[in-house]
Symmetry: C2
Subunit: 549 residues, 2 copies
C-alpha cells in the first residue's frame, strides 16, 4: 500500500482557461500548467485573468512546473508564478519557445528556469518522475504527461485529440501510452472539452482538403485568419497556396513570432519561396498572394481587425478577395466576429467561416478519442479536466458507460481536492481558489469590488454633487450637479439644473441643524438617488462631496 496523492485544481475545472493543477505527495508538489483566461464582458477594462496561486504558499515546497503545451490558457500565468516561485519549468522546445517570449517581456530574470524536454524523455523533481509523451493537438510540441510519485502512476493527457494523419507526420505516441497502461495507471486526467461530441474529432487534414478545394476559386487575395499557435494550420495554408501558385505572407505580431519559432524547430517546413516577407508582398498581384493573419476572434488591434478598418494601408480587402476564418467562433466573441464578417462582405469579399465551410476542425478529443486513451492506459480512475462544468459532466457520463463508478470517476471543480489512494479517488475537502485580474499591461490586480463599481457606472452612469459649507455648516457654494452617461448629452445640462433645483428644495425642507459636511453629503446622496429613481427609474452611481471652508 502506497501513500495517497492529492490533486488540487487551482483553475481550468469548471471554466475554460487558467489551467493549473497541483499534484501533491506528502509535502512535495509539482504544478501542471499555469494559464490565463481572456477577460469577458463582465470583466470590464480587464485584459486577462490569472489563477490566484496563493494556495502554493511561500516558496519551497513547489518542485517544478510541467507544461503540456504552449497555448495561453496553459502558460499565460507563468510570469506571475515564477516571480514568486523560482522552480524549473519543463516543456518541449516549442512550448518553451512560446513561454520564453512571454517571460522575456514580463519577468526577464526567470528565463533561465526553462528546461527543454524531448518527447519521450523523463524529468525528475523531488519524489516525482514524469515522462513527456507526444500527443496531437492544435499546436505543435504538445505532450501528455506520465507522472510517478510514491508508487502512484498518473497519466495527464494535456489538451489533445488523436489525429491519425497529423500534418507534421508526428502522431501521438500511442505505444508509450500503452506502456504506461501495461505498467498500471492509477489515474487518468483526461481533456473533457469535447466529450459531449460523439465519434472521433476529425483530422486537421480535413482543413487542408477544404483549402485545396476552395483556393482555386479565389480571384483576388486570399486571407486566412487563424490562431498563430496553430502551426499545422499555417503549414496547410502554405501547401494549398503553393498548389495554386500563391506565395504566403504573415500579418500580426504573434503570427510572425510563432511562425519563426515553429520554423526554427522544424514544426513548420515551408519550401523555398513559399513565404514572402510582408514588405515585399505589398506590390504583388492580388491573385498570387495569400495573407495569413491573426484576428480570427475579431480581437481589437489584431491584424484582421486592423485590415477591416483600413488601418493597414498596404493590405486592403477588395472585391474578388476571399476571407477564411479558420477557427472556432469562441463563445462570447460571436457578435464581434459576425460584425467583422459583415465588414469583409461590405468591402466586397466572400467570407468562409465555420458555419458555411469546413475550414476548421477542433483540437480537442471527442468521445471516441477519450475512449481510445482509456483503452490504451486502462486507468483505475478517471478525472475529467479542462472544461466547463457541462464538459466535465459529459466525460463523467462517458466514463460511467465504460464501467467507472463514482469512486473511480467524478466531477471535480476548481478548489476541490481530489485524493487518490488504494480505494480510488474521492473529494477530500476544498481549498480557496480565485482569479486575479490583470489590466493595462501591468500585473497589477483589480479586485471584484472595483469591477462591481465599474459595472454600475457602466450601466447607468454617474451623478456628482459638489458643495461648500462654512464651519457652522451653512452652505456657501453649490450644490452643483454634474452628470456623466446618465441622459443624452443634449439633455444633460437641463437634467443637472433640475437636480440642483431638487437639492435646493431638499435643503429648504430637510436640512438638519448645524450639519457637518458629511451630513450634507448623505443628504445630497439620498436625495439624488430618489430624484433619479423617480425620473424614469434611473439608478446612476451618486457621489456627493462637500468642502468645509
Amino acid at each position: 500500500m502506497s501513500a495517497p496523492v492529492r490533486l488540487v485544481p487551482l483553475g481550468g475545472l469548471g471554466e475554460i482557461g487558467l489551467n493549473a493543477l497541483v499534484i501533491e505527495a506528502g509535502d512535495e508538489r509539482i504544478l501542471v500548467d499555469c494559464g490565463l483566461m481572456f477577460a469577458q464582458d463582465h470583466h470590464p477594462g480587464v485584459d486577462y485573468l490569472i489563477p490566484d496561486l496563493s494556495y502554493l504558499g511561500s516558496p519551497g515546497r513547489l518542485r517544478a512546473v510541467l507544461l503540456t503545451h504552449g497555448h495561453e490558457d496553459h502558460i499565460g500565468g507563468l510570469p506571475h508564478l515564477l516571480r514568486r516561485h523560482r522552480v524549473p519549468v519543463y516543456g518541449t522546445a516549442m512550448t518553451l519557445g512560446l513561454v520564453r517570449e512571454r517571460l522575456a517581456e514580463h519577468a526577464p530574470t526567470t528565463t533561465s528556469l526553462l528546461q527543454s524536454v524531448a518527447p519521450g524523455a523523463w524529468v525528475e523533481a523531488g519524489p516525482f518522475r514524469a515522462q513527456f509523451i507526444r500527443i496531437t493537438h492544435s499546436t505543435a510540441g504538445a505532450c501528455a504527461l506520465g507522472i510517478e510519485v510514491h508508487g502512484r502512476r498518473i497519466v495527464h493527457t494535456g489538451d489533445f485529440k488523436l489525429d491519425p494523419t497529423p500534418v507534421d507526420a508526428m502522431p501521438t505516441d500511442e505505444a508509450a501510452l500503452a506502456r504506461w497502461g501495461d505498467g498500471g495507471v492509477d489515474l487518468l486526467c483526461c481533456d473533457s472539452t469535447n466529450a459531449h461530441r460523439p465519434g472521433p474529432t476529425p483530422s486537421e487534414r480535413l482543413v487542408g482538403e477544404a483549402l485545396h478545394r476552395l483556393l482555386p476559386d479565389v480571384e483576388g487575395r486570399a486571407w486566412v485568419a487563424t490562431f498563430a499557435s496553430n502551426v499545422h494550420r499555417v503549414q496547410q495554408v502554405i501547401e494549398a497556396s503553393r498548389a495554386v501558385g500563391r506565395r504566403v505572407t504573415l500579418l500580426g505580431r504573434a503570427m510572425v513570432r510563432t511562425t519563426r519559432i515553429a520554423r526554427s524547430l522544424g514544426h513548420l517546413r515551408p519550401a523555398p519561396g513559399d513565404l514572402v516577407p510582408e514588405p515585399r508582398s505589398r506590390g504583388m498581384p492580388r491573385d498570387s498572394l495569400t495573407v495569413v493573419l491573426t484576428g480570427s476572434q475579431a480581437e481589437p488591434g489584431s491584424a484582421l481587425w486592423r485590415v477591416t478598418r483600413g488601418l493597414e494601408p498596404h493590405h486592403r480587402i477588395l472585391p474578388g478577395d476571399h476571407v477564411f476564418l479558420s477557427s472556432r467562433l469562441i463563445p462570447g466573441n460571436e457578435r464581434a466576429i459576425y460584425r467583422q464578417i459583415d465588414r469583409c462582405i461590405r468591402l466586397g469579399a466572400r467570407v468562409h467561416y465555420e458555419e458555411v465551410s469546413e475550414i476548421h476542425v477542433s483540437g480537442h478529443a471527442s468521445a471516441a478519442d477519450a475512449r481510445r486513451v482509456v483503452e490504451l492506459t486502462r486507468p483505475r480512475c478517471v478525472l475529467p479536466v479542462h472544461g466547463e462544468l457541462r464538459h466535465l459532466q459529459a466525460l463523467v457520463d462517458r466514463a460511467r458507460g465504460l464501467g467507472y463508478p463514482p469512486h473511480r470517476c467524478f466531477r471535480a471543480e476548481n478548489g476541490v481536492v481530489v485524493r487518490l489512494d488504494d480505494q480510488g479517488i474521492r473529494p477530500d475537502g476544498t481549498v480557496p481558489t480565485g482569479r486575479l485580474y490583470v489590466e493595462a499591461g501591468t500585473e497589477g490586480d483589480v479586485a471584484d469590488g472595483a469591477l462591481a463599481d465599474r459595472r454600475r457606472l457602466g450601466r447607468a452612469g454617474l451623478v456628482l454633487a459638489v458643495a461648500a459649507v462654512d464651519p457652522a455648516g451653512a452652505l456657501v457654494w453649490g450644490p452643483r450637479v454634474e452628470l456623466r452617461g446618465v441622459v443624452p448629452d443634449d439633455q444633460a445640462s437641463r437634467e443637472a439644473r433640475e437636480a440642483e433645483e431638487e437639492l435646493a428644495r431638499v435643503v429648504r425642507r430637510e436640512a438638519p441643524e448645524a450639519p457637518s459636511a458629511e451630513d450634507w453629503e448623505t443628504l445630497f446622496t439620498v436625495a439624488l438617488r430618489r430624484h433619479f429613481r423617480r425620473r424614469g427609474n434611473r439608478r446612476p452611481v451618486v457621489v456627493a462631496t462637500v468642502a468645509e471652508v
Copy 2:
C-alpha cells in the same frame, strides 16, 4: 408603364431586429412591421432599441401598418410609432393579441387602431391593397403579404420557413403564392436569415419526435425552456408529456400570457387535464410534471434564470431532473446560456441543448425554402430582407444562381432607397436611419454620447477631484480625490491620497497666477489623467469640480 414604387428599409436590413420597411407610391406610404432590437453588450444599461422613424415625418402620409407576425423584432416599436402616427394596424388575430398587450402597457389609447385580418383576406390603405397569405414560422398566425399599388405587385414573405407538416396543420398557402405568381410579381422581398444554409429547414415536428424520444428517460421533473411565442413548440411539449403521463404547467409571465392568447384563438389545443395551473402543480410528484418556462436565453429575471438561482421556492431543480433548452443559442447570449447550463448541472440535472440534442429547429427559410417561394411567385426582382449583411449576401448569391442579375437582385442595407420600376430594382439614394435607445421601462432615449460615457466609466472607473477657492483664486479647501472602480477597494484610499499628493505638487509647481475655478478644474483634470496613465496605464474618467467661495 406604371409609376415607380420606392421601398425604404428603416431597420432589419444589415442587422437583426428593428424590422421596419416603408413602401411608398407617390406621396402615399405603408409600413411593413415595426420591431425592436434587444440591447447588446455595447449598449450598457439599455433595455432595447427601436428604429428611428423620423423619416416618416409629420403624421398624414402614412396610411397603415401591416404586421407579418407577432415577434418582438416585428412589433416592439409600435407603441413608439402609434403615439405619433395614428394609423390602422393590420395583422392576424394572434399577432394583434400579442400587440394589444404591449400597447395596453405603453400606449393604451392606441389599441383601437388594431384591425384583425383573417389569412387570405385583403385590406386597403390609400392606393395600396394587400392580401395576408398564411405562411409557416416559429410562431402562430404568421403571414406573407401580397401588396398591390399603382399596378405594381410585391410579395413580402415576412419571416418564414416552408414546413410541410406544421404542428397546427395550417400549412403555408402555397396556392395563394402561386396565384400571385400567375398574376405577375414585380418584386419578392424574401427572408434571408438562413439563406446560407443548404437544403430545406426541417419541420417543427422534428422537435416533437425528439421530445417523445427523450421524455421517457426523465426520472424527475422535465423543464422545457423556449420562447413564449413558439406556440407550436409548447403544443408539442404538451403532447409528448401526455404520452408519458405528465401534466404541464407554465412559468414566466410571457409564457402564461402568450399561451392564453394562443389557446383562445385555437392555435394551442391542450386536451382536458393537460395543463395544470402553477399553484396546483407545486405538490405534484416530480415524475408527473413538465414545466414549460421562459429563460432559454438566460435573460436576467426570466423564469429559468430565477429557478436556477433558487428564487422560485416552489420550483427547484433537483437531481434526476432534465432541462431542455429548446431554442437557439442567440449570438451574444452564449456565455450566459452556458453559465446557466452549468448551474443546472450543478443542481444535478441533465441538460439537453442544441449542441447535444435535436431539440430545436429554426423557423427561418434555408436555401431550398427560399428557392421554392421564388418558383411559386416567379418574381421579376428579389430583395433579401431580414438579416445581417452576410445573410442578405447569401440570398443574393443564391438568386444569382437562379439567374437574377444585379438589376433584379442586390443587397440593400437600412436607409438605402430601393426603386422598383419597369427596368427592375436599383438603389436610389439613401435616407437617414438610426436607433433610439429605450431604458428603464420608459420610452426616454439615451443617445450614443451618453453610452460612450458609460462605456468609458465601465471600462476604467472614475476619478473625482473637488476643491474650493476664494474669490482671488487661492485654494482654501482640497483638492480631495475620490476613486470609484479604478483599483481594488483596499487600495482605493491609498491611491486617492497619492493622487492628492500629486495634485499638491502640481499646485506648487504649475499653478497659474490668479486662476479662476475653471482654470483649477482644467489643471486638476490634466494632472490626474497624466498621473493615472503613468500608474499602470490606467485611463479612468476624470471629473474635477472647484467651488468658488
